[in-house]
Amino acid sequence: MSSARNSPTGHGDVSKPSPLAGVRVADFTWVWAGPHCTQQLAHLGAEVIRVESTARPCVTRMLPPFADFEPGPNRSGYFNQYNQGKRSLTLDLKHPDGLEVARRLCAASDVVVENFAAGVMERIGLGYDVLQRLRANVIMISLSGYGATGPDHDKVSYGPAQVPLSGMSSLTGYRNHPPMHVGVSYGDPTAGLHGAVAVLAALLHRARTGAGQHIDLSQWETSIVVLADALIAQQLTGRPPARDGNRHPRMAPHGIFPAAGEDRWIAITAEDDEAWRRLAVQMGRPELVADPRFAGLAARKDNEDILEEIVGAWTATHEPDALTARLQGAGVAAHTVATNRDLSESAHLEAAGAFTRQPHPEVGQRQHLGPPWRTTRLASRATSAAPCAGADTDDILRTVCGYDDPAIARLRAAGTLT
């Protein structure tokens, strides 16, 4: 594994080329949205250099779960999941010499990514105009809560707030119950992934035209694009789709049903009459198929309460994984409502190659999720764990920013590299 660290990009898989080998990313992001964006680039083989501060460490370094319950900035599973294969440079950007290091880093980088509040990069002297002077074809992407323009651009945004702000919460909930969250700061990864798409398109554009660009991404907007059908419904029918639990306007049954065991559940959906027939047969209730209450989608939707009661009474006595296998074997779309433990112990995900276990100096070889894609001819995942804070500072200063050892020692003595 140490050889991967010493390869030109720090991330080479010797047997297969990485698609973004040779692309360097200066990563000024933190929390989740920005790191999720640069995580994609790191998996694709870009050299991603996280610029961090020990005085103000990334929020996720300080959040649980900590390995074996022992807190520490390098021990968070949250940070280590979303920063695989990146390198870490600690720097005091408030110090003029620290800013100079950052400028040299940007001058040597193809892509600069940041998710500070709108305007912060300009204030500290790393705005797009400055970066463009340092490197004419630089690609810069800013992922802010509301975007860099518009009357609300100055508002503050936290990850969990994007779910209600986007309208997702007003559409999510049990029938006749209040609006609900979705369980994670959904706006963050959605912004990060759209950001990664934009960066890759910009790299292709640069390869063709030689020109860089600045991308002003609004997390509010990336959270809305996945709700377009509700926006259209509002305009075409005069009302938004009603909060309706786990139900679906064109499928029934379509729900999450109790399974045997404490807080165990199974999702079952019948896409059409044929799927419903197969389900009824599995339930040992073939007579339900001809039952006028359930003959055809319209009838099943009209009688969905009783339909769900019947299905739920049947599922409640079955272990969810065994029932999943049985229903899938009969061609019914169903799956255990997986917990994090189910995923971690999944023989399917293990066999499919979903997990990575890279050595890490403080937490050992922990199980993480790699990228959700496999490739055949190209390498497609980071080959090192998330970095300890500042682990690569000296090497980056020497090999990327052009400082010699005495200069590095002076910077360190002055407290700039913290």
Binding site: L44, D68, T149, L200, T339, W373, R377
Partner: protein, 394 residues
């Protein structure tokens, strides 16, 4: 300026239904790629039957979900289960940069989607296969709807009414697993294209929808490998207030993560006596005593207006957010001023849909063409291909 977009000149074939592959195709079409969507002749993409429809009247050419996901593409019909259809697919693939599809793994070869075969025809092709459980592993043949993927990926487990263990875990609105899959599919596909001048070949990219969902569980997946703990939607949140409150004209998200945010909010409420109670002193204490806190907060919020409270909190740098309705978004001066919405023409009238969620300094986003009518561009594309219009391929 390249008004055509950063992916101008890139050719994409999409064999997609509902959201996953169509959203991947849309992302590339919106960035300027020439995307040709292949639909089955008998009814086309099921998104055509999803709606929403004008006046709730079903019409396969007026489904809102379809019109949104397939604008900026051309559409052809091809029966991929017929030898002629597969032959046409191969001729199209010969001149294609990226072929993205969400045909189920068990049906891929029957539809002519076979990497070895297509690669022999076009070594530079990037074939991107989106499958509910990927192309490898014992569950590769499993079927999924969007709800099933959301649950298999572990996200549904994290949401639901904290106080009602009898109610099931709750999905998020819409086909969110599909959107996540579409996004994740584009990333390695464009990267493979970026590498092609150096490597001289394309690649086969396999995307698992289950893994796309599992990859966004925030901090919860690692609770098991790091601490042996199982995450659940049940149980109180450690930090409060981070909750929805009902105002006189809607709902607001009350969000005080840092102590100074809470203190400013208390001032904003006029420093009521209850706020100085010891049980509300720290964010952890407020989490522990949320049952009491909620009653006080709800009583105060009930008289407020969402917009006024949102603006007042934001003026103090407290990150509150409204629980926006669709009407709120359509009326937002901020979104309007950023030019976020685009006007999509319908047979009668038009609707506003989201445009690009980012502004680029070089390539303005444009709605170049509406979504195709079923088979609208079949002749045009086949003419381009110089193919014979044999019966059975129309």
């Amino acid at each position: 300026m390249t008004a055509a977009g950063p992916l101008a000149g890139i050719r994409v074939l999409e064999v997609g239904e509902l959201v996953a592959a169509p959203y991947a195709g849309k992302l590339m079409a919106d960035l300027g790629a020439d995307v040709v969507k292949i639909e089955r002749p008998d009814g086309g993409d099921p998104a055509r039957r999803r709606g929403p429809f004008p006046g709730d009247a079903p019409d396969p050419e007026c489904s809102g979900l379809y019109l949104y996901l397939n604008a900026n593409k051309r559409g052809i019909t091809l029966d991929l289960t017929s030898p002629d259809g597969r032959a046409t697919l191969e001729r199209l693939a010969a001149r294609t940069d990226i072929l993205v599809h969400d045909v189920h793994p068990d049906e891929m070869s029957g539809c002519g989607i076979d990497y070895d075969r297509l690669c022999a025809i076009n070594p530079g092709l990037v074939l991107t296969s989106i499958a509910p459980f990927g192309l490898r592993g014992p569950h590769r043949s499993y079927r999924a709807t969007d709800l099933v993927s959301w649950c298999a990926g572990g996200l549904a487990t994290l949401n639901g009414d904290v106080e009602r263990p009898d109610l099931p875990p709750l999905k998020a609105f819409g086909d969110q697993a599909g959107y996540q899959a579409g996004l994740n599919a584009v990333i390695p596909s464009l990267a493979a294209l970026f590498a092609r001048p150096l490597t001289g070949h394309g690649d086969h990219v396999e995307v698992s929808v289950q893994e796309c969902v599992a990859g966004i569980l925030e901090l919860t997946f690692e609770y098991f490998p790091y601490c042996g703990l199982v995450a659940s939607r049940l149980g109180a949140k450690p930090i409060q207030p981070l909750c929805f409150m009902e105002c006189r004209d809607g709902w607001i998200f009350v969000c005080c993560v840092e102590e100074h945010q809470w203190q400013r909010f208390v001032e904003l409420m006029g420093s009521p006596e209850w706020a100085s109670l010891e049980i509300f002193e720290t964010r952890l204490a407020r989490g522990k005593n949320f049952d009491a806190l909620r009653i006080f907060l709800q009583e105060w919020c009930r008289d407020q207006s969402v917009q006024e409270l949102y603006e007042a909190a934001q003026a103090q740098r407290i990150p509150f957010a409204p629980v926006s309705t669709m009407g709120d978004l359509l009326a937002s001066p901020h979104l309007a001023q950023r030019g976020f919405f685009a006007e999509l023409a319908l047979p009668t009238g038009s609707v506003r849909v989201p445009g690009a969620p980012y502004r680029s300094s070089v390539a303005p986003w444009t709605l170049r063409r509406p979504a195709p009518r079923l088979g609208q561009h079949t002749d045009e594309v086949l003419r381009e291909l110089g193919a014979e219009l044999a019966d059975g391929t129309r």
